[in-house]
């Protein structure tokens, strides 16, 4: 079984991110890391290939400056190879532009039985790319998977809902978005880390994928960021000194909120 996992490489959330006042987008010129949201998909893919007994996991990513740091992390976890799309013309791509690129890159990655993504990235949060990729590839789309099993050519997914989960079945291949936190991503072993150094990363431009520059990046974006503003600072909380009667004030506070 061959699984393709779309992984995003994002600025390290541990370092405070910054917006570029000119482009009004997140600055991505520093080192990028594997989006933690995607580590669940990578883990699930590795488990599915393991269970199937054959096949491999291929990564697909779109990132500026030929960035591979995040890909190396996923390769060290056990993915076999990667396709990286890096092209200056991709700056400013909106969700649909990104989906167009990823769909082409998935096709380039070879025959896939299943395509996994996260439900949304940790730096952009549009949460629309997985469904757009499915549409562009004319494949079934299943979202918010918490468990995936493959039975012959049928995919069985437990799809998380607010109340519990739905059981969804669909034919393979399909595009499935994986909910964060549903599996425990392995961390790379030393051997895995060293092996990842020499695993193939097929770095391509949009021309290699046959994509028209006018359909992606700033040029193709159907979305425009009109303005960016500082989020309102959170108001300081109220500190209640406990004189033995503080509980009464806490109860009143909760009462005012109408939560008790």
């Amino acid at each position: 079984m061959n699984v393709v996992v779309c992984v995003k490489q994002i600025p390290d959330p541990a370092d405070p991110g910054a917006l570029d006042p000119n482009t009004k987008t997140l600055k991505r010129d520093g080192k990028l890391i594997l989006d933690e949201s995607d580590s669940y998909g990578v883990e699930m893919a590795l488990q599915l290939v393991d269970a199937a007994g054959s096949g491999e996991v291929t990564l697909v990513s779109m990132a500026p400056n030929g960035e591979v740091s995040g890909l190396r992390t996923a390769l060290a976890m056990g993915a076999a190879k990667a396709v990286l799309v890096s092209d200056d013309a991709l700056a400013g791509s909106d969700a649909l532009g990104t989906s167009k690129v990823l769909a082409k890159a998935i096709a380039r990655a070879g025959e896939a039985d299943l395509i996994l993504t996260a439900t949304e990235s940790s730096d952009g949060y549009t949460g629309t790319v997985p469904e757009q990729i499915a549409e562009l590839l004319q494949l079934p789309s299943v979202t918010f998977a918490k468990e995936i099993a493959v039975d012959g050519s049928t995919l069985k997914v437990q799809r998380q809902t607010e109340a519990g989960y739905d059981e969804v079945e669909c034919p393979l291949p399909a595009v499935v978005s994986v909910t964060a936190g549903v599996v425990e991503p392995r961390y790379p072993s030393f051997k895995g880390i060293m092996a990842a150094k020499s695993k193939p990363v097929d770095q391509v431009t949009i021309a290699d994928l046959g994509i028209d520059a006018a359909s992606v990046g700033w040029a193709g974006a159907g979305q425009e960021i009109v303005e960016i503003a500082q989020a309102e600072a959170r108001e300081a909380g109220t500190i209640i000194e406990d004189d033995g009667e503080a509980f009464a004030q806490v109860v009143k506070f909760l009462d005012d909120l109408k939560v008790v």
Partner: protein, 379 residues
């Protein structure tokens, strides 16, 4: 800060996450009970963490001392204790003599299962009569047919209570350096016993044993390398052992500094955070300076060792620098925490106790200084 490679940073990250997931939630319990569960050795081995720095030919993961250093930094940054490091990585002192000079039989019987987390080994050099003077040990091994019969005692032996085997320094010849050999003793050998489990100031998660050998009969094939070479085999491993103790030293210091720095931002006295006082800031910067110097120098000595330089003197100095840093910085961290720093259960209190061992174990500072003096020509 000294640059690690991308792969070393990734390994350090793996070690940090392993520590956060498998160690920190249980550490307090292990510090209380005084020993690590065997299962932890298996889990760490499965993640490939026990074999880093040991060649794949003997069941290791490959990599150099520098890779092992990066990994240890990950453990320490995540808040591992000195006892945990000493006990989980006791094989770091128990197997190297076998790897360097042992027969394939010893490698297969002891080294591979240890790196796989299946066996626990200890190294026993120190005796009740003295530890600094390695050439003066008195535990004797007498040849008898195909066996050696061992009599004597050892003390302060890390992981000795749980050990499946003990790599033991014994006297097989006359007095002095050239009369010492190394032999592996199974802990189920009749006549071998753990006479006491020692209680300590720190390193609580590590079991420490006093061992007794009374007519303990061990097959001669358990002798490591050549007869009479034991002292030199032990001395060969000193550089690596001292670098690891140096790492542990600046590891404790760096962690204590980061805890203290956060505390100084959060703790309000006289209506302002502690860190608003210049005297506090200058303490923190001094602690930072000591950590930087210790880390940079230690890693530089490790790098030179890997490159093949003779760094026996420098390893003494690195250990000295880093353990002094550990003692000073953990002491200042306790000070900055005030009363809370003196309380059991506050992490800096543990680092303070753990750090105190470092200028004693693996070569007391005075002894190492004297050795460095001779090697550097100050004699």
């Amino acid at each position: 800060m000294t640059e690690l490679t991308d792969e070393q940073i990734a390994l350090k990250d793996t070690a940090r996450r392993f520590t956060e997931r498998h160690i920190i939630p249980n550490l307090e319990e292990w510090e209380e009970t005084g020993r690590l569960p065997r299962e932890l050795h298996r889990v760490a081995a499965a993640q490939g963490l026990l074999g880093v720095g040991h060649s794949e030919e003997v069941g290791g993961e490959g990599g150099t001392l520098l890779d092992a250093c990066a990994m240890q930094e990950g453990f320490m940054e995540a808040g591992a204790s000195g006892g945990l490091m000493a006990s989980l990585f006791t094989h770091g002192i128990a197997v190297p003599h076998m790897i360097a000079h042992g027969s394939p039989h010893l490698i297969d019987t002891y080294v591979r299962p240890t790196l796989a987390g299946e066996l626990i080994g200890s190294l026993a050099v120190t005796e009740p009569g003295g530890g600094s003077d390695v050439a003066g040990i008195t535990t004797r091994a007498q040849r008898d047919g195909e066996d050696y019969i061992i009599n004597g005692s050892k003390t302060f032996i890390t992981s000795g209570v749980r050990a499946d085997y003990v790599t033991t320094a014994v006297r097989t010849g006359g007095t002095g350096h050239s009369g010492i050999s190394m032999i592996v003793v199974d802990s189920n050998t009749p006549g071998f016993s753990v006479t006491r489990e020692l209680r300590k100031m720190g390193w609580h998660a590590s079991d420490t044993a006093e061992l007794s050998y009374v007519d303990a009969r061990v097959p001669a094939q358990n002798l490591i390398g050549e007869l009479g070479q034991g002292f030199y085999y032990i001395a060969e491993q000193f550089v690596v052992e001292r670098i690891f103790l140096a790492l542990m030293g600046y590891g404790h210091a760096a962690r204590a500094l980061s805890l203290a720095a956060q505390y100084c931002k959060d703790r309000i006295t006289f209506g302002k955070p502690l860190v608003a006082n210049q005297v506090v800031r200058s303490k923190l910067v001094e602690m930072h300076r000591q950590v930087e110097v210790a880390r940079t120098y230690t890693l530089e000595v490790a790098r030179r060792h890997v490159a093949g330089d003779n760094v026996i003197a420098e390893a003494c100095l690195a250990k000295q620098t880093a353990v002094a840093t550990a003692v000073d910085v953990t002491n200042e961290a306790v000070q900055l925490f005030g009363g809370a720093g003196y309380m059991h259960g506050t992490e800096v209190e543990r680092h303070y106790r753990d750090a105190r061992l470092l200028p004693i174990g693996g070569g007391a500072t005075e002894v190492l200084t004297d050795l460095a003096a001779r090697l550097l020509g100050y004699s």
